[in-house]
């Protein structure tokens, strides 16, 4: 072959590109069911990507298997549609080998929390600099309607005609337990919040974990409608904002305070006295763990950033070790070959 080659070090383009949403739309026909929540997530992502001011060729989307995992085909960047549950392993290898790339992982509640649960834990504890977007629709859509690890107890599905007898995982709680440094939740139909949350995730170093409540209008329609519908959203969701008092309601008239180790709703709270102030950068995840326990209907459902703490990422630490070793000991292969006990035969 006589093709010109590029070395691994020469791949980065120095110019900052001016790109628009349409630059991130691939020529592939989008094949999700009409009305699927995935369309909104794709649209917000394509809107957000130009804001990163990163050349398209330095962005990679990696997915596993499931409806959400078709995502890479629709984004005009590098993309890898891998196998069930393993997207995070490919992403970890790619990012570790090539720390200069921006890597997204698109996964679902089955792909990320069932078959791929182990990898999710380990990516987050290592703090690999990945942007993990978990589409949670609480159902298996691609295989046509079985319950998932986030389906509620008693859920009647094709594979649980008498209702499930297993409790669901809360993805945010899992992320906090694994020591994730950026943990957030958003909703497919709250487009502005979703786009903002995706952007903030990309600005974080280390693993950014974003759970997106995503409606599967075929097999689990309306799973989140009770609190995400536009008319009730302000009263039934609470937007977490760093440094701000936890308030919700159309007039922000209600608040959240602590009663021992549990959250408590204060209706029509007078002033901010006693109300919790949200803090994302606390090393201590206790507050985030209390907030994650707030479920509808007893509580407004928290969306936004639960936790964002700054720690060196795995890939940068690995690169640092390599650079450091190289600086201390020049790589001379001949010397390595001839190391240890040697002898001459003439």
């Amino acid at each position: 072959m006589t093709t010109p080659t590029v070395s691994a070090g020469e791949l980065l383009n120095g110019d900052l590109p001016v790109l628009s949403r349409k630059d991130f739309v691939s020529d592939q026909e989008v094949r999700w069911c009409p009305g699927c929540g995935d369309y909104s997530i794709l649209a917000q992502m394509q809107k957000m990507l130009p804001e990163l001011k990163i050349p398209r060729e330095n962005i990679v989307f990696i997915s596993g298997i499931g409806c959400s995992s078709r995502f890479p085909y629709y984004v005009e960047t590098y993309g890898f549609h891998s196998i069930h549950g393993r997207a995070l392993t490919l992403a970890t290898g790619l990012k570790t080998a090539r720390p200069e790339l921006t890597v997204f992982v698109v996964t679902g509640d089955g792909d990320g929390l069932s078959i791929g649960g182990n990898h999710l834990l380990h990516a987050m504890r290592r703090n690999v600099d990945l942007n993990v977007i978990l589409f949670n629709n609480r159902i298996y859509g691609l295989t046509k309607g079985q319950f998932s690890p986030t389906s509620e107890l008693g859920k009647v599905t094709k594979s649980s005609p008498y209702g499930t007898v297993e409790s669901p995982l809360n993805p945010i709680r899992v992320a906090l337990a694994a020591g994730a440094t950026f943990v957030a939740r958003s909703v497919d139909r709250d487009t502005k919040h979703l786009e903002e949350t995706l952007y903030k995730a990309t600005q974080h170093r280390g693993t950014s974990f974003v759970e997106v409540y995503q409606n599967c209008n075929i097999f689990n329609d309306g799973a989140f409608a009770a609190f995400t519908d536009r008319e009730v959203r302000q009263d039934r969701m609470i937007y977490l904002e760093d440094g701000k008092t936890l308030r919700f309601g159309s007039e922000r008239q209600h608040g959240i305070r602590l009663d021992g180790f549990t959250a408590q709703v204060v209706e029509n709270a007078q002033g901010d006295d006693g109300l919790l102030v949200h803090q994302t950068n606390s090393e201590n995840p206790t507050l985030a763990n209390i907030l994650v326990g707030m479920d509808y209907p007893a509580f407004p459902v928290p969306v936004g950033i639960f936790r964002a703490v700054d720690k060196p990422s795995y890939d940068e630490l690995v690169q640092h070790q390599v650079d450091d070793a190289r600086a201390r000991h020049e790589p001379r292969f001949e010397e390595l070959l001839n190391s240890g006990e040697t002898w001459e035969v003439s």
């Binding site: 072959m1 093709t3 010109p4 080659t5 590029v6 070395s7 691994a8 791949l11 383009n13 691939s26 592939q28 050349p55 060729e57 990679v60 990696i62 298997i65 085909y73 005009e76 960047t77 590098y78 993309g79 890898f80 549609h81 891998s82 196998i83 393993r86 995070l88 392993t89 490919l90 992403a91 970890t92 290898g93 790619l94 570790t96 080998a97 090539r98 790339l101 182990n118 990898h119 834990l121 380990h122 690995v318 390599v322 190289r326 201390r328 020049e330 790589p331 292969f333 001949e334 390595l336 070959l337 001839n338 190391s339 240890g340 006990e341 040697t342 002898w343 001459e344 035969v345 003439s346």
Partner: protein, 634 residues
């Protein structure tokens, strides 16, 4: 023995061509260290040698018990040798359990050195001896030399600050010193090694060296040994040599592939016996730009390697049989996405957990076929510990040129075994080339090179080549998802044909001995030494026997069919139930006869010779003699 009568003794010196020694003791007795140090000394002295470490999977089985016995065998010679020896000439047994599990292998008349102090009632009972074998005459056919190693060693260490437990643990240095004396070897190599090893623990260094010298001096002054042996240096090719194990050579070979290609090496692995040493070795050499990733499981290890391959790096993962099973789905993803990836399989005895520290060749069919769909990968297999170096480079040459996963099949015997190795000059290292997709070309992810059928390697960061790949079948024309019947048919054939074409690019199979005759021994992998030596011995007896050893299992060398057709009979010795036999019979319609041993131990030369005699009508049906080991615990 009585120390009062110890006087400098006159010793006869007898020259030998080849000696096989086995050190055996409790797994806490440091027998691997003793064996390794004797090996290094012998290598530096200039003998040819081969080693066989044989240890239990339990890190510390109950002290003194039969399952807790650890052994290290080496054979060294003044001429070229290829195996660690069929039968030890010398056995050093540090306790009754070690004696019981190993003495069955010692040749009649062989030298048997035991630590007499350890033959007490408790240890005899643990080893299920009804009476003391040192006293009941059961060892009469050996030259039995009982020595009070424990007590002598304690005396030598009197006045040191070591606890009595630590004193006991240095007995292996005493035994090493004694054997070094017996074979006229210098203590220098061990002294240098120990000085470096224990530089932060001077009291331990001092004690170990005292023990070593005490053992050596005991040999010098005692009259227990009338004869001292010399094994002159071997005549080998001139050059600079080092001693190397298969796993070390494997790691060095993959670093060489990185150096020669200019691509950084990424190694994803999950610890598993007997492959972990490759991870240990590679993780030391980060200054070569190597990134090692100790994954959360076998699947993550290969997944990360695939990610690195996609990113344009030299991507490697390594494991043993159970791990290869776990990796199979992801390996298929590399098959489907046609990425360059090398998978090391240091095989061990299976199935399931099997016998982790014992060797076997039983993953061949798993490597060939252990995936869903029609899924062809290239397979290479080194034949000796040092050959692991060059086959590692070769694995990446193939992977990069053909954009294909390559399985590198080593085994426990090769990985842990060791031999002297002439260090290659930098100019002797093969070139390893790679090409990323051209930026100015007419790019399509599956547009194949007309010669190799390799698809272009477009890596993130290359502007204008943004594309999507994945496990779903793709159109060969556009790279888009395709369920088109003709496309799948053609893509499946193209993936297989691409692997088949590697045969044009690899050396022909060489025959050792005449290229036609009555019997061909065909082997692969770590059985090379025993097979080649057995065929050679048969020819010396005037028999028409040749041998050939496959380093390429998929595809086979182009001339394999022609080689097979030159012989009236073909015998395939394998440490499995006949996996290569199945492939050869299926591919070439040759009535090959399998010779199969599944004991976790390598072939002995004599075993293969026995089967040769059977096939040539010189003897009756051959049956294995597994010796005393079969009655373990009885």
């Amino acid at each position: 023995m009585t120390t009062e009568t110890r006087l400098p003794a006159e010793h006869l010196v007898q020259e030998l061509d080849r000696v096989t020694i086995r050190f055996a003791g409790d797994s806490g007795d440091g027998m691997q260290l003793t064996g390794t140090q004797f090996t290094k000394t012998t290598a530096v002295f200039g003998n040819d040698l081969a080693t066989l470490p044989d240890y239990p999977a339990e890190i510390r089985a109950p002290t003194g018990s039969l399952p807790g016995v650890s052994g290290f065998q080496l054979s060294f010679s003044s001429s070229d040798i290829r195996t660690p020896g069929d039968q030890p000439d010398v056995l050093v047994a540090m306790n009754p359990a070690a004696l019981k599990t190993n003495v069955g292998d010692l040749r009649a008349g062989g030298l048997l050195i035991v630590d007499k102090d350890e033959f007490n009632a408790t240890n005899l009972k643990k080893a299920a001896y009804a009476s003391n074998p040192l006293e009941d005459g059961s060892l009469a056919k050996f030259q039995l030399v009982p020595i009070e190693i424990t007590r002598q060693n304690e005396l030598a260490l009197e006045g040191t600050s070591l606890s009595s437990k630590d004193k006991f643990r240095s007995r292996n240095f005493y035994a090493l010193g004694l054997i070094l004396w017996l074979y006229d070897r210098s203590m220098d190599t061990t002294v240098r090694w120990a000085t470096e090893q224990f530089k932060r623990r001077p009291e331990v260094l001092d004690a170990n060296l005292k023990a070593l010298r005490a053992g050596y001096n005991f040999g010098e002054t005692t009259e227990l040994f009338r004869v001292r042996y010399e094994v002159p240096a071997a005549h080998v090719a001139p050059g600079k040599y080092r001693h190397i194990s298969g796993n070390e050579a494997t790691a060095l070979g993959f670093i060489a592939a990185s150096v020669q290609s200019g691509l950084p090496l990424f190694y994803g692995s999950y610890p598993i016996t007997p492959a972990s040493d490759v991870l240990h070795e590679l993780s030391k050499h980060k200054n070569f730009g190597i990134k090692t990733f100790q994954a959360e499981d076998e699947i993550a290890a290969i997944g990360a390697a695939i990610g690195a391959a996609y990113g344009g790096h030299l991507a490697l993962t390594g494991t043993s049989g159970p791990g290869l099973a776990l990796k199979s789905e992801a390996l298929n993803l590399a098959v489907m996405t046609e990425l360059p990836l090398v998978v090391i399989d240091v095989q061990r005895a299976g199935p399931s957990t099997g016998m982790p520290t014992k060797t076997e060749q039983s993953d061949l069919l798993q490597a060939m076929f252990g995936r869903n769909g029609d899924s062809s990968v290239a397979i290479v297999a080194p034949a000796t510990p040092s050959e692991c170096f060059f086959m590692a480079i070769e694995a990446f040459r193939i992977a990069l040129k053909y954009m294909v996963p390559v399985i590198f099949m080593s085994d426990g015997y090769l990985g842990n075994g060791s031999e002297p190795w002439r260090i290659p000059l930098m100019s002797e290292l093969p070139k390893v080339e790679y090409h990323y997709a051209p930026l100015n070309g007419d790019f399509s992810p599956y547009k194949r090179d007309p010669e190799t059928l390799a698809r272009p390697w477009a890596v993130p960061g290359q502007k204008g080549l943004e594309h999507r790949i994945g496990g779903i079948e793709k159109s060969g024309a556009t790279g888009d998802i395709s369920y088109d019947p003709r496309n799948h048919h053609e893509m499946t054939l193209a993936r297989a044909e691409r692997v088949a074409r590697i045969a044009r690019d690899i050396p022909d199979l060489e025959i050792t001995g005449p290229s036609s005759g009555n019997l061909l021994l065909l082997g692969w992998g770590g059985t090379y030494g025993a097979i080649t030596s057995a065929a050679e011995a048969a020819r010396k007896r005037g028999l028409s026997v040749s041998s050939a050893h496959l380093r390429y299992l998929n595809p086979f060398p182009s001339n394999l069919g022609a080689v097979l057709s030159g012989f009236k009979k073909v015998m395939i010795p394998e440490l499995n139930t006949g996996q290569l036999s199945l492939l050869i019979r299926g591919r070439f319609l040759v009535d090959a006869v399998g010779f199969n041993k599944i004991s976790g131990q390598p072939f002995k030369i004599a075993e293969i010779e026995g089967k040769i005699d059977e096939l040539l009508g010189l003897a009756g049906p051959y049956t294995f003699d597994f010796g005393q080991s079969a009655s373990l615990g009885g």
